[in-house]
């Protein structure tokens, strides 16, 4: 059977035909990959063939080149690179030919496949003629080929990193793209493809944006494109402006005035997709400026990378009215629709960002709008006014906001109870939440919640929890922040008189039949958690009573059998929430001896249920159960040993969870809890745990964020089992050594995330060393550690010389020096004396302003003086 028919059959309605075709394709691929790929490319390029078979051929080809999963992706790349040269050349020729096809689908699919091939080959300096041959297409007359070629260039820019393409080629690509965007281009499809291609190519244009003439030209073309009669072009052009605002913020000053006019016009008059992008431009400028201001604290010096140009502040008097106007364009029921995103929402969000950027200055510009609209009969005006009020609560100073909030609070409480419109009530409850989040708490001088209004506030919120789900959810959130503000209230909380009522109401909300809507159930449990976290000794008995209630709820989730997958999912979600709730209570009640002993009486029951939760398939539920178990182990201490036998297999399961690496990371943390709780009694489980941890470290499928906690966990274990760690030394030490060397080598990297990760990794490694040395202290087997001492000291020396470790690493590192000296004593005396760390590093730490570093250094000094005095 020829490939066309198989491809068509693979899309047949008849399942048997489809399945058979899929099997044939699979077989073909396995038997002869080069010929399979070649025939797919031939199919895609052949204008005689049906559109459906061509498109599927292209998609299969694309999937043969790329995959989401990292290792699979690497595999496919390698497979392509090792294909025969002539086959690859033929496939590429077919692909390029397809760009000239009159069939849009075929062209578009070919564009994507070409980009995938480019993504593999260009970094290896293969297919050097690609860009040139594409550019030669842009001089062709046929508009459809031009369009497909520009689209291909755009996809390529998305696929490869900017250093892969030579600047001379970048220049040519940009020239072709900008030419295609120009108003003189009469074909809209070409102009749109060019505009979208520019969006992806912006990251390649660093050099061009540094050249005034080239930048002026690009900016002019982009701005002109925002005025195109074609909506899709205007939208794509604004997308370019948004991308430019974050990539080239520092180059915007000469254009900002024009851009303001363009965006203002679009926000006021243009169709929604365009207006949304225009608003996004200003949101993005706000993000840039708040980042800059946060980083430099406002005082820009010559050393800072990018100065703040205060674009938002300058645009403020014109920008704010523009945004306020958008607030009046709400959609009915937007609060019930999770996926809603419209101009009112975007405008309100932007207003909030503007407030964060300019702080006090926004208040006088917004207040008249609020005052004018908040009592109007039209719900849209009341809602817009309320939303404006809620939006400006983060940013301006407390002094500026306090008088307004004191006046507004009562109004909000009344509106939440009495306004006839759900939308208004939703926004009112949200605004109350913002008031409590930003203007209520022990750090503020004059409280907005007083004995006089506390009762009213609580009763309004409690009542609103019976309102429609979206309003009830916001009321829960408001109560969350209200409780949080009393976190440090002292022995007696103003919430105590209402504690019982609050708990009862929240539990009631979780049982509402419509609690699944607007994430109401989740909000209710989260609020319950916060109320418990911030509770005082006065209400401890009530929290104790809550324990069996929540245990019961959790038990109840296992009652239903044979349920639909949708119900099962809901059940798993509920189990996660209940485990989270128990975790919070374990931590709260475990922090006081008195309540701890009482609640530990329920430990057996809790543990049984947590273990049952592991029977579910939900990663979130597993994670929550694991966190709760860690908290329980910490509280129960050595008593936890009795659960180990049953718990162990789930512990191992968690450690094996590569896919949900959060579960794995949390399980590693729990192993640490167990080590500290059980100490020597963890020994029988160590072989299994260590095997798994070592396996995880050597797997390239393991997410890198799990590695530092695994190293720390080595330390926890060594500290718990002492010299019994002996048998793991030969495995653990080389791994630590390898990771340590790597972490020193990557130190030159200036990517911030990488620096942060490297320091986390170093800290993990050092914690491992620390635990291992301390674990062996006083043992007859300290000689086993001697061979590793030179490397450890070398590691410390290179950290010190690298000068790029953070405070935490300094503290841990100098502590390791002490631990090494303490455990190895005079054996390591000469080694220690040779190391730079024992002198310069130690002295630096001894005179550190950071007391934690200093404390560790004092320890190291003492240990070293003992070690070298023998």
């Amino acid at each position: 059977m020829e490939v066309t028919q198989i491809l068509l059959n693979a899309q047949a309605v008849d399942g048997t035909v489809r399945k058979h075709a899929e099997e044939s394709l699979q077989q073909f691929q396995e038997q002869n990959l080069p010929s399979f790929l070649l025939s797919l490319a031939g199919e895609l390029a052949n204008d005689e063939k049906p559109a459906e078979s061509r498109k599927l051929a292209g998609l299969i080809l694309k999937n043969a080149l790329d995959a989401k999963e990292h290792n699979r992706k690497l595999e496919l790349m390698q497979r392509w690179l090792s294909l025969d040269q002539t086959v690859k050349a033929q496939i590429k020729a077919f692909l390029l030919k397809t760009l000239t096809s009159p069939a849009l689908d075929a062209r578009s699919t070919a564009s994507q496949v070409i980009a995938k091939v480019a993504g593999i080959e260009l970094p290896h300096k293969r297919w050097p003629e690609l860009i040139e041959s594409l550019l030669s297409n842009t001089h062709l007359v046929a508009a459809h080929t031009k369009q497909a070629t520009l689209e291909t260039l755009g996809y390529i820019c998305e696929e490869v990193s900017s250093e892969v393409i030579e600047q001379s080629e970048v220049n040519k690509v940009l020239t072709a793209v900008v030419q295609g965007m120009n108003a003189s281009e009469s074909n809209n499809d070409v102009r749109l493809a060019a505009t979208r291609a520019l969006y992806n190519a912006l990251g390649f244009a660093q050099a061009n944006f540094s050249n005034d003439m080239e930048r002026d030209y690009i900016m002019r073309v982009v701005c002109e494109a925002t005025l195109s009669p074609e909506l899709r072009i205007r939208q794509a052009a604004f997308e370019c402006l948004v991308a430019i605002s974050s990539t080239y913020y520092e180059k915007l000053a000469p254009y900002i005035h024009d851009i303001f006019n363009i965006t203002a016009k679009a926000i006021k008059e243009d169709e929604e997709p365009v207006a949304l992008q225009a608003i996004e431009f200003w949101s993005s400028i706000c993000d840039e400026e708040t980042d800059i201001l946060e980083e430099y604290g406002g005082d820009f010096t010559g050393d800072s990378d990018i100065p703040c140009f205060y674009f938002v502040k300058q645009a403020l008097p014109a920008l704010v009215p523009l945004l306020l106007e958008t607030l009046l364009k709400q959609e009915e029921d937007q609060d019930q629709d999770e996926g809603a995103w419209n101009i009112a929402m975007a405008g309100g969000t932007c207003l909030g960002l503007v407030a964060r950027t300019v702080c006090d200055d926004i208040v006088p510009l917004v207040m008249p709008f609020i005052e004018e609209n908040i009592t109007k009969p039209d719900w849209r005006q009341r809602e817009a006014a309320t939303y404006a009020f809620g939006s400006i609560l983060e940013g301006p100073s407390t002094d500026k906001l306090m008088p307004l909030v004191n006046v507004g609070l009562n109004f909000m409480l009344t509106a939440l109870s009495n306004d006839p419109n759900n939308h208004v009530k939703d926004t009112t409850a949200w605004t109350l939440g913002r008031i409590f989040e930003f203007l209520h708490g022990s750090t503020l001088d004059s409280p907005i919640i007083t004995p006089a209004n506390c009762q009213q506030i609580i009763s309004v919120l409690v009542k609103s929890m019976n309102d429609v789900p979206n309003v009830a959810e916001k009321a829960c959130s408001a109560l969350y922040f209200l409780a949080q503000g009393y976190e440090d209230v002292g022995p007696s909380s103003p919430l105590t008189p209402f504690f019982h009522e609050i708990i009862q109401t929240l539990l009631h909300v979780t049982h509402r039949p419509d609690a699944g809507e607007s994430r109401l159930r989740t909000a209710a449990y989260e609020t319950l958690n916060e109320v418990v976290r911030c509770s005082t000794d006065e209400t401890a008995p009530m929290v104790l009573h809550l324990v069996p209630v929540i245990i019961n709820e959790l038990n109840h989730t296992f009652a239903a059998q044979n349920i639909s997958s949708e119900e099962r999912e809901r059940q798993n979600e509920l189990q996660g929430l209940l485990c989270g709730c128990l975790q919070v209570m374990i931590q709260k009640l475990g922090s006081s001896e008195l309540t701890k002993s009482v609640f530990l009486q329920s430990a057996d029951q809790m543990m049984t249920l947590f273990l049952r939760v592991f029977g579910s398939k939900s990663a979130t539920a597993h994670e929550e159960a694991m966190l709760a178990i860690g908290a329980l182990a910490y509280c129960a201490g050595p008593e936890f040993a009795k659960y180990m036998q049953d718990f162990y297999k789930y512990l191992e399961m968690g450690l094996q969870d590569f896919k949900d690496y959060q579960v794995c990371a949390i399980t590693v943390g729990v192993v640490g809890d167990l080590c500290r709780a059980l100490e020597g009694n963890i020994l029988p489980y160590c072989d299994g745990v260590m095997t798994q941890l070592l396996k995880n470290l050597s797997s390239n499928q393991m997410h890198r964020s799990v590695k530092p906690p695994i190293f720390s966990c080595f330390g926890d274990m060594a500290l718990a089992i002492g010299e019994n760690f002996e048998k793991y030394l030969v495995y653990a030490m080389p791994m630590l050594q390898g990771a340590a060397e790597l972490s020193v080598r990557t130190s030159a990297d200036d990517d911030e995330d990488m620096i942060e990760y490297t320091n986390t990794l170093r800290n993990g490694i050092l914690e491992a060393y620390s635990g291992i040395f301390q674990g062996f202290k006083g043992s007859t087997k300290i000689q086993l550690l001697m061979p590793y001492a030179p490397h450890v000291l070398q590691f410390l020396d290179s950290l010190f010389m690298g000068k790029d470790m953070d405070e935490l690493v300094s503290k841990t590192a100098i502590g390791v020096l002490g631990d090494l000296a303490d455990t190895l004593g005079s054996n390591a005396g000469p080694l220690i004396q040779q190391s730079v760390s024992s002198k310069d590093f130690l002295n630096e730490c001894l005179s550190s302003d950071d007391h934690l570093i200093k404390e560790s250094a004092e320890w190291a000094k003492l240990a070293i003086s003992r070690a070298i005095s023998f």
């Binding site: 794509a236 939440g433 750090t443 959130s477 022995p491 007696s492 908290a631 949390i666 914690e767 502590g815």
Partner: protein, 380 residues
């Protein structure tokens, strides 16, 4: 290429409670790890070790700051009297961070909110690291009070490098400000209190020696005014006591009884020597390999001995020979062997104690010699 959708979170708080639970767990684990680490290092115990054999199981008595070391004894003999001063070992609590109290072996005794700076949770968690205080305290069970005898770090400001005089001045002026000396409340679980500090002249000694205090007095602590804080044994902070100012002059065993023979705890070294915790250590005797193997001992083990009838032979201020009788391994909670000065003080107490009159005489002597008696302060 499809358009790029931009959506921002709308009416949603920035942090989810699930993230918070995760973050709180991580923080707890980090804190627990640090506690375990400090416990292992017995950081707090670099001051003094925990003596379980003390007469008060919960270690309530006021105890000295530190012990004199061997080197000091010669000086002591020159300046005050021929006898070394000693300390009674008892549990001293060190509040590492204002909310936790660690025992001398580094383990946490109490975990409680207090009115000390940052002693309770505040909203601004970011300040917590900076606002760290370390106080040297003794927990007095009878009135549930932490008596503060030294201040090493206050609101993140290190006092390690300050003279004793300045530390006491700071302690006096700062502690009361915080309200930490107020009676306890739910929120401020234990009261903190100061101990009287006097200049070491005759009247000061008088007050310290016989003045009434709200706690069970256990000797006098002598500080050199100009000395910086030093962990471990130092001649610049010494303790002395007799029957009038302490109920516990002679060490008791775990049952609170005074044993008929003095007991000492020594560390077994690699070379089989039995040594004190001093730096450098003082050798009291030597074990043999057979003994070590028979009892399954390792180097680093702390062993308890009785000093038999042969006693200690001291020649020119140096220990020549000790008649030791092995009793068993010491209590596991112990971090260190006894110091030489402790052993010597206990030995002297049983044989020829240093009396208050000797100290008075040495003060008079100092005055006669034109020394500045005010260089020393006494903490009661």
């Amino acid at each position: 290429m499809p358009p790029h959708d931009v959506r921002r979170s709308y009416k949603r708080p920035a942090i989810s409670d699930q993230d918070r639970r995760r973050a709180i767990s991580l923080r707890r684990q980090e804190e627990n790890r640090r506690d375990a680490q400090l416990h292992a290092r017995r950081l707090a115990s670099t001051l003094l070790s925990l003596e379980q054999a003390s007469s008060e199981p919960d270690d309530v008595e006021l105890v000295p700051e530190s012990e004199p070391d061997l080197h000091f004894q010669h000086e002591a003999a020159e300046t005050s009297s021929k006898d070394p001063l000693d300390v009674r070992q008892a549990s001293k609590l060190r509040g590492a961070d204002a909310r936790k109290c660690r025992q001398r072996n580094g383990s946490v005794l109490h975990h409680f909110p207090s009115a000390l700076p940052n002693g309770a949770r505040t909203r601004d968690a970011s300040g917590s690291g900076q606002s760290y205080s370390i106080l040297d305290c003794i927990f007095h069970e009878a009135d549930q009070t932490y008596y503060v005898i030294d201040m090493l770090c206050w609101k993140g400001y290190s006092l390690y490098d300050c003279t004793a005089e300045f530390r006491f001045f700071w302690l006096n002026s700062k502690l009361a400000e915080t309200g930490a000396c107020e009676p306890p409340s739910h929120y401020h679980k234990y009261r903190f209190s100061l101990v009287p500090i006097c200049t070491c002249d005759l009247s000061g000694l008088q007050v310290a020696y016989s003045g009434a205090v709200p706690y069970v007095k256990d000797g006098l602590l002598f500080y050199n005014k100009h000395a910086h804080y030093q962990p471990g044994n130092t001649p610049l902070a010494l303790v002395w006591k007799d029957e009038s100012c302490s109920q516990y002059v002679i060490d008791t065993d775990s049952k609170g009884q005074v044993p008929s023979q003095q007991q000492v705890v020594l560390e077994l070294q690699d070379d089989l020597k039995l040594v004190t915790s001093d730096d450098p250590p003082v050798v009291f005797g030597c074990s043999d390999l057979e003994f070590k193997e028979k009892l399954g001992l390792h180097s680093g083990n702390l062993l308890r001995f009785a000093i038999s009838d042969g006693g200690l032979s001291i020649v020119d201020g140096t220990l020549e020979k000790a008649d030791l009788h092995y009793l068993g391994k010491s209590n596991r909670a112990r971090a260190f062997a006894d110091s030489y000065s402790k052993v010597m003080f206990q030995y002297m107490v049983r044989h020829s104690p240093l009396r208050i009159e000797d100290i008075v005489a040495s003060i008079n002597l100092s005055i006669d010699e034109g020394n500045r008696p005010s260089d020393v302060e006494i903490v009661g």
